[in-house]
Subunit: 571 residues, 2 copies
C-alpha cells in the first residue's frame, strides 16, 4: 500500500474532543473519526488493527472448539421479556418500535437470542458441550460515551456462550475459555493479568476479568509480586495481618473532646490507626448495620454486600441522622460495646488485641477493647479493601495495587437464562434439564485502545507487532532522487513478495513530516531510504518499540527486515 493513496488523515495537534491518550492518538494517527458522540468510523489503518485482533480471537476460539455464528443485531422485545431484562435493563438498552409497531432493541449482548437458538435446535445431551461465538458490532446507549474506543456506544465485541449438561461440564468449558483468553492476549503482545472478579449473587470463583495493565486504567487491581494471584478490588482478599500474643488489658474510658476522625483520635491517644477499630453504619435495605474495621482500612462495599448476602445496590453509608437514630450517638464516637444493632466485624478485627473504639457517648472513647470479651458481632467476614503491602493469601507474597483496563470477562452463568427461557434438554433419564451456561466477552475495539494506553510515548503509538496495522513502513525521503525512489520501491516490492505487510511513504512531503507521522502511527519497523543510501548505499532500520537503529547495505536489508519482523511476531 502506498501512503499517498491511503486515507490516513494524521493531525498535528491533539483534538479538543479527546481526553485520554488512546483517544487522542487514534484521532491524531488517522485511525478513527467521530460520527456522533460514542460512534466512530474506523479508517483503513484503524480497521486493519481491529482485524488483527479479530483474527487472533477467531483462531483461538476455533482452536478451543468454539463455533462462529452471527446473530441479528436487532432483537425482539419478547425474548427480553422472557428473561425479565426488558424491564430490568437500564437505558443502555436502546428500545424502539419497527414499522409494524413491534417492540425491538439493538443488541448490547445476546444471552437471550443464543438461548433461543439453542433451545430450538439442541435436543440431546449428545450435542453438548457447545460453545457458540460471534464477532459483531454491539450497541449500548451510554449516558456519557467517552474516551474514544474505550467506552463508545457502538463497539466491536466477541461474545461467546457455552452450553453444558452439567455443572462440572460448565466448569470445564469455563477453563477452556480461560486458557484461550490467556493465549489471545499473549498473542496480542499485551501485558495483562486475569483477575478474580466478583460474580455477585451466583457466587463461586467463576468469574475472571482480563485486564491490560496500564497506568491510565480506570480499574484498580491487586496483584501478588510473587505468584499469579490477581483480583479486582471487589474480589481481592489477603492474609489477616494483625496478630499479637499480648494479654488483654482492662477497658479504660477516656475523654476525647471533639475528636471524631480516626487520625485526630489516634493522635490524641498517641496510638496508630492500626490500634483502633472504627464503627461505620450502613443502611442495608433500610436496616442499619454496624461495620467494624481497623482504623486504617476501608470498606469494600461489594465484599460487604456478599457477606450480607445482598446486592451491592442494596447497601449505602448511613447519613448522620440515620446514624443517630440507629445508635443514639453522634457519628465519630460509635463503638461496638453495648451496640444494639446488627454488627459485622471484619476478619482483621477478630485478630486485634487491646484496640481503641468509640464509647457510644459524645466526646468519649474506650481503650483496650477486645472482641469476644467486650462484644460479640452478629457476623464476621472479609469486608475490607486490600491495600498495597498486604500479604497474598496464596503464597504469602506482597500484594501490589496497579491499574488495568478490562478487555475481557469470562463468567459462569449457571442456569439463569436457560431456566428463564425454558431452554432444556432431556438428560440420560429423560428428565428435562436446563442447560448450564457460561458467557465470555472480549471488547475487540477496546483491546486496540488498551494496547495504545499501554504502549505509547510522547511521539505516538508503539504497536505490539501482532496487532499493528502493518509491520513495516518504508520512507522514501526524496521522491526526486531516482536512486532513492527506485531503491525504496524495490524494497517495497520484495517485502510484499515475501508476504510482509508494508506501507511505502511515497508522499511528496518533507522528511520531517514523514518521520513524525511514522512515529505517530506506530508501525513496528521504519525503513529509511535517504541521503545515506545515495552516499553510501546504506538503509536504516529503526524499531519503534525500543528505538534501536541498525544500518545495513541495500543488498542485505530485505533479509534483515524480515528477520526483525519475524522476531517481533514470536513474542
Amino acid at each position: 500500500m502506498r501512503f499517498s493513496q491511503l486515507l490516513i488523515p494524521t493531525l498535528k495537534e491533539d483534538p479538543a474532543e479527546a481526553e485520554v491518550i488512546s483517544h487522542k492518538l487514534l484521532l491524531r494517527a488517522g485511525f478513527i473519526r467521530k460520527l456522533t458522540s460514542g460512534t466512530y468510523t474506523y479508517l483503513p489503518l484503524g480497521l486493519a488493527t481491529i482485524r488483527k485482533v479479530e483474527n487472533i480471537v477467531r483462531e483461538e476460539m476455533n482452536r478451543a472448539g468454539a463455533q462462529e455464528i452471527l446473530m441479528p443485531m436487532v432483537q425482539p422485545a419478547s425474548l427480553w421479556e422472557e428473561s425479565g431484562r426488558w424491564q430490568e435493563y437500564g437505558k443502555e438498552l436502546l428500545r424502539f418500535k419497527d414499522r409494524n409497531q413491534r417492540d425491538s432493541c439493538l443488541g448490547p449482548t445476546h444471552e437471550e437470542v443464543i438461548t433461543d437458538v439453542v433451545r430450538t435446535n439442541v435436543h440431546s445431551y449428545k450435542q453438548l458441550p457447545l460453545n457458540l461465538y460471534q464477532i459483531q458490532t454491539k450497541y449500548r446507549d451510554e449516558a456519557r460515551p467517552r474516551f474514544g474506543l474505550m467506552r463508545g456506544r457502538e463497539f466491536i465485541m466477541k461474545d461467546a456462550y457455552s452450553f453444558d449438561a452439567t455443572d462440572k461440564g460448565a466448569e470445564e468449558s469455563y477453563h477452556r475459555m480461560d486458557l484461550a483468553y490467556h493465549r489471545i492476549f499473549e498473542r496480542c503482545g499485551l501485558r495483562f493479568r486475569a483477575v478474580e472478579a466478583d460474580s455477585g449473587a451466583i457466587g463461586g470463583s467463576f468469574s475472571h476479568e482480563f485486564m491490560v495493565l496500564a497506568d491510565t486504567g480506570e480499574d484498580t487491581i491487586a496483584i501478588c509480586n510473587n505468584c499469579q494471584y490477581a483480583a479486582n478490588m471487589e474480589k481481592a482478599s489477603c492474609v489477616v495481618a494483625s496478630s499479637s500474643d499480648a494479654a488483654p488489658l482492662e477497658l479504660e474510658r477516656i475523654e476525647t473532646p471533639g475528636k471524631r476522625k480516626v487520625n485526630a483520635v489516634c493522635e490524641f491517644l498517641d496510638i496508630t490507626p492500626a490500634q483502633l477499630v472504627k464503627t461505620l453504619i450502613y443502611m442495608v435495605k433500610d436496616e442499619p448495620v454496624a461495620v467494624l474495621l481497623r482504623g486504617d482500612h476501608e470498606v469494600e462495599e461489594v465484599k460487604l454486600a456478599n457477606v450480607l448476602g445482598v446486592s451491592d445496590e442494596d447497601i449505602r453509608m448511613a447519613d448522620d441522622k440515620e446514624v443517630f437514630d440507629a445508635t443514639g450517638t453522634p457519628s465519630g464516637y460509635l463503638g461496638p460495646i453495648g451496640l444494639a444493632i446488627k454488627t459485622i466485624a471484619d476478619l482483621e478485627v477478630e485478630a486485634m488485641v487491646n484496640f481503641a473504639v468509640g464509647a457510644n457517648e459524645k466526646n468519649f472513647h474506650v481503650l483496650n477493647c477486645n472482641m469476644g470479651r467486650d462484644f460479640s458481632p452478629s457476623q464476621t467476614g472479609d469486608v475490607r479493601k486490600v491495600t498495597a503491602g498486604d500479604k497474598c493469601k496464596l503464597c504469602g507474597g506482597t500484594l501490589e495495587l496497579t491499574k488495568g483496563i478490562e478487555v475481557g470477562h469470562i463468567f459462569k452463568l449457571g442456569t439463569k437464562y436457560s431456566t428463564a427461557l425454558q431452554a432444556t434438554f432431556p438428560d440420560d433419564h429423560s428428565h428435562e434439564t436446563p442447560f448450564v451456561m457460561g458467557c465470555y466477552g472480549i471488547g475487540v475495539s477496546r483491546v486496540v485502545a488498551a494496547a495504545i494506553e499501554q504502549n505509547h510515548d510522547k511521539d505516538g503509538i508503539i504497536f505490539p507487532a501482532p496487532i499493528a496495522p502493518v509491520q513495516v513502513l518504508i520512507l522514501n525521503l526524496d521522491l526526486k532522487d531516482e536512486g532513492i525512489t527506485s531503491a525504496a520501491q524495490t524494497i517495497y516490492k520484495k517485502l510484499q513478495e515475501k508476504g510482509i505487510e508494508v506501507i511505502l511513504d511515497d508522499r511528496d512531503e518533507r522528511p520531517g513530516v514523514k518521520f513524525k507521522d511514522a512515529d505517530l502511527i506506530g508501525i513496528p519497523f521504519r525503513v529509511t531510504v535517504g541521503k545515506s543510501f545515495s552516499k553510501d548505499g546504506i538503509i536504516e532500520i529503526r524499531s519503534r518499540a525500543d528505538g534501536n537503529v541498525s544500518t545495513i547495505t541495500f543488498d542485505d536489508c530485505v533479509e534483515e527486515i524480515i528477520k526483525n519482523v519475524q522476531n517481533s511476531m514470536n513474542l
Copy 2:
C-alpha cells in the same frame, strides 16, 4: 471439524415458513434460523459460506485499489436532513430517538456518512481518486420481508463509494469496479450477467446490475444470444424491427362495432397486431399524454419516463374517465389522427407503413394510417419493452429473455450527494469543486441465496466450490468398525494437514441419514469410508456437482481428493 460437534440442525421436511428454494434449503441444511420476520441467525455452516463470499469480495476490492473501512450502523438524522433523504426515504429507513432524544436511524446505506467522512478528511485533489468500502450488516425495515436471505430486514452488504476530481476520473473508477465485480462473481463460481440498468434522472449508461441467472429470479433480463449485450427490462432496447418498402395507401374508415381490444380488432380486420398501432393515454404529472405503440408491444414505463424527462413515479396509465376527458373518445377507439394532446410515438411506429389505428370515434377504426402523412407526434422515442426474438442493437443477434437475481449494482452518482452535503475540494485553480461520486453494492448474504437458487437439485444444495462452507465431507459409515473409523480419521487428518477444509461425519447415525445430509448441505466432495473399504480397501469420492463417483485405494485417495478440490477451485 467433526459433524458430531458442529451445530448443523438439518431438517427432514420443508419448513412451512419458506416459499423459495434457497430459503427452504438454507433452513433444511441448518445454515440459518429465523429470529424474527426478515432476521436470521447464521449458524456455523451458513456463516462459513458467507465468509467465503466476503473474502473473495475483499480480495478483489483491495486488488482494485479500494480501501476497507467500517462506518457506524446508527446514523444521525442531521446528515440525512442535509441530503434531503430524512424526508424522502420511505419506511424502510428505521428511525428512532436515542436516550438523549436525538433523531437517529439504522443505516440501510451510507452515502451520507461516507460523504461526511470525505468532506472532513480530504482536502486536495492529490488525495484522489479514493474508493472506500465496508462489509457490514445493513438494516431495511421491509414491509414484507420474505424469501429468507433474498429479501431480509438485516442483510450483509459490501458497499463502496468512489470519489474523483473529474467526471472522466469517475468513469475510470466505475470501470475499475465493473472489472472487479466481474472477477468477484466469476471467482464465486456463478453464472451471471452484468446488465445495463436504468440510471434514472442522472442519465448515461453508468449503471449496471449484476444478475445471477436462475429460473427462480424475480427480475427479467434481456440477453443477446450472440454477444455480451444484456440489460434489464427498464433499460433494454433493440433494433427497430418494422420496415417495409410498401407504398402508402389511402386512409380507409371502417366500422368495428364493439371491438376495443387489440386482438378483437385485428381478428375483425384480419390483420396481425404488428399491423396495428394502439394509442394509450398516460397521466404525466396530471397532464394527459398519448403513447403510440405497435399492437403487439408493451410500454416500458421507466423508458417512457426517461423519454419524457420525468421520474417513473410521475407517470401512470389514465383511467377510463381521464381518457374520455382528454380525448372525447371512449378508450378502445383512440388513434393519433387529429388527436389534440401531446403524443409520443415509439420508434417502431415510425418505421411502420399502412397500419390500423382507432378513428377517435366509438365503433370505428382507420386502415392505412402512416406517420408523417396522417399525423405528427410531439416526440418519438424508444418506450417499449423488448421481447424475446428482438434483434440485438449491438450485433444483430437475437435477444432472449431470462430470469435473474440482482446481487450487485454499480452506479455513477455524480455530484448528487457531494453537492447536497457541500463536500468539495479546491481544484488546481483553487475553486471549491464537488467530488464526483460513484457507489457500488454487493448483497453478500444475497449472493449465497442466489447461488443456491442457481445451484441445487431435489436433494439439496450444490455449492460452487469457492463458496462452499468446506470442500470435503468424509462419511464414516460404521463407527463400530475400527478399520473404517481409523481410515476415516486418517484421511481427515491428512487433508487438514494439507490445508483442505474438511468435515468428518462421525455421528452415530445410519448411513442413509449421512448420505441424505451430505446431499442436503451440498459440500462439493463426499468421501465415503464404508463396506468397500473393509472388503477391498476402496474409498469412494463423489462430486456433488455432477454426481460422478470415483473409487480409489486408501493409499491414493488423499492425493486424488486434493486434485479434485484444486480443479474445482480453479473454475
